[in-house]
Symmetry: C2
Subunit: 197 residues, 2 copies
Amino acid sequence: MARQTRQTILDVAGNLFGNRGFDAVSLDQIAAEVGVAKQTVLYWFSTKDELVQEVLAETAVELTVVVEAAIRSAPDDPLDRMEAVVKAVFRPAVRRPSLLGLVREISRLPSESSERLTDSLRPLVERAVNWMKAEMDAGRLRRADPGLIVALAYATVTGIATEPEALRVVGWNADIAGLRRLRDELVDFLRAALAPR
Amino acid sequence: MARQTRQTILDVAGNLFGNRGFDAVSLDQIAAEVGVAKQTVLYWFSTKDELVQEVLAETAVELTVVVEAAIRSAPDDPLDRMEAVVKAVFRPAVRRPSLLGLVREISRLPSESSERLTDSLRPLVERAVNWMKAEMDAGRLRRADPGLIVALAYATVTGIATEPEALRVVGWNADIAGLRRLRDELVDFLRAALAPR
DNA sequence: ACAATTCTCTACCAAATGGTAGAGAAAGGT
DNA sequence: ACCTTTCTCTACCATTTGGTAGAGAATTGT
């Protein structure tokens, strides 16, 4: 049961850190929500920084698994594949916005830390970029900068997940149905933008 | 000269808050960078929260001014107009990423605060959405959800400004020349996506 | 020049923060 | 059953944090 404590700490910390940022969440708050003493948190993770690193490492793995599963089960058509990946990332984004909030927090870390984490996501992203380039070369997608497309999709999904106020300002509801419709609009937009002519 | 102290505090705080988040920046840090005592900061802003609110109010005004100026001097063609606005927002984003970092921090505020601020940006955004809808109705832009387009452009520019690591992962350099080229790719992409057919 | 006002500072405060130390409870192994 | 290891806790620590209080310096106004 004790490894359960460790995982609960990771889950709770991930949720709080992703919603509020690392610096706004104290060890006491995490401990209180888990239902243990702060020193128990420090038994499992010797410093707050180690907890942060572990949370982020778990996040990177989770996103990689989600995206790779979507790619594996996606159709061959590039637009359909792109749609499958966007939807795959959207799912956790809607159910657990803190996941993408954590990714955003990477930019707040010292650079050795952020590099380790971006390095763990890099293979996945590079594959996406190279795949998109190949489809564009083959004339199956309209030519655009693949790095930009990935960045744009990432930024939009992440923004949708973590900034509900911004959504409301542009006229969208941040409830589940609203987000589903917004996701579909995003997919349609990307399809229209990338369909070959 | 004393009102100069107040403005310097606002500028320094805006920069630090936008780069690191509200909770990660102490009043002592702001004071040290301004070159005054913490109590001087508290003379001008009676609580940290008041300082935060003032910084954000200034940010909202600045962005509104930038976007409205771009709209006023933009050509009549909708794609050219859209390009002008994207470039107008991109400029401060590149020169001072903390500005957009501040906008992102809005989602971290209690809701009365965040509502006040989103309310101050709302007229601007609604005008953009309504203008885009009218251009789509007139067949001058391809039909897509205007709220999504605004959200997408906002998210992408903001992501570019505040997450240089993400840029590097997708193969872009976060130096000035790299960001200029990325901006131009974004504009091209939006043109291709929204040009009527 | 002097009084009033404004601005800046040192001193101090209570609470919060990420930790160290060590005791005892709980679990696992023989 | 007993010993060892693992887990959880209270107690304590130095530092940091956002503040209150009040003194004195600087500026403004007459």
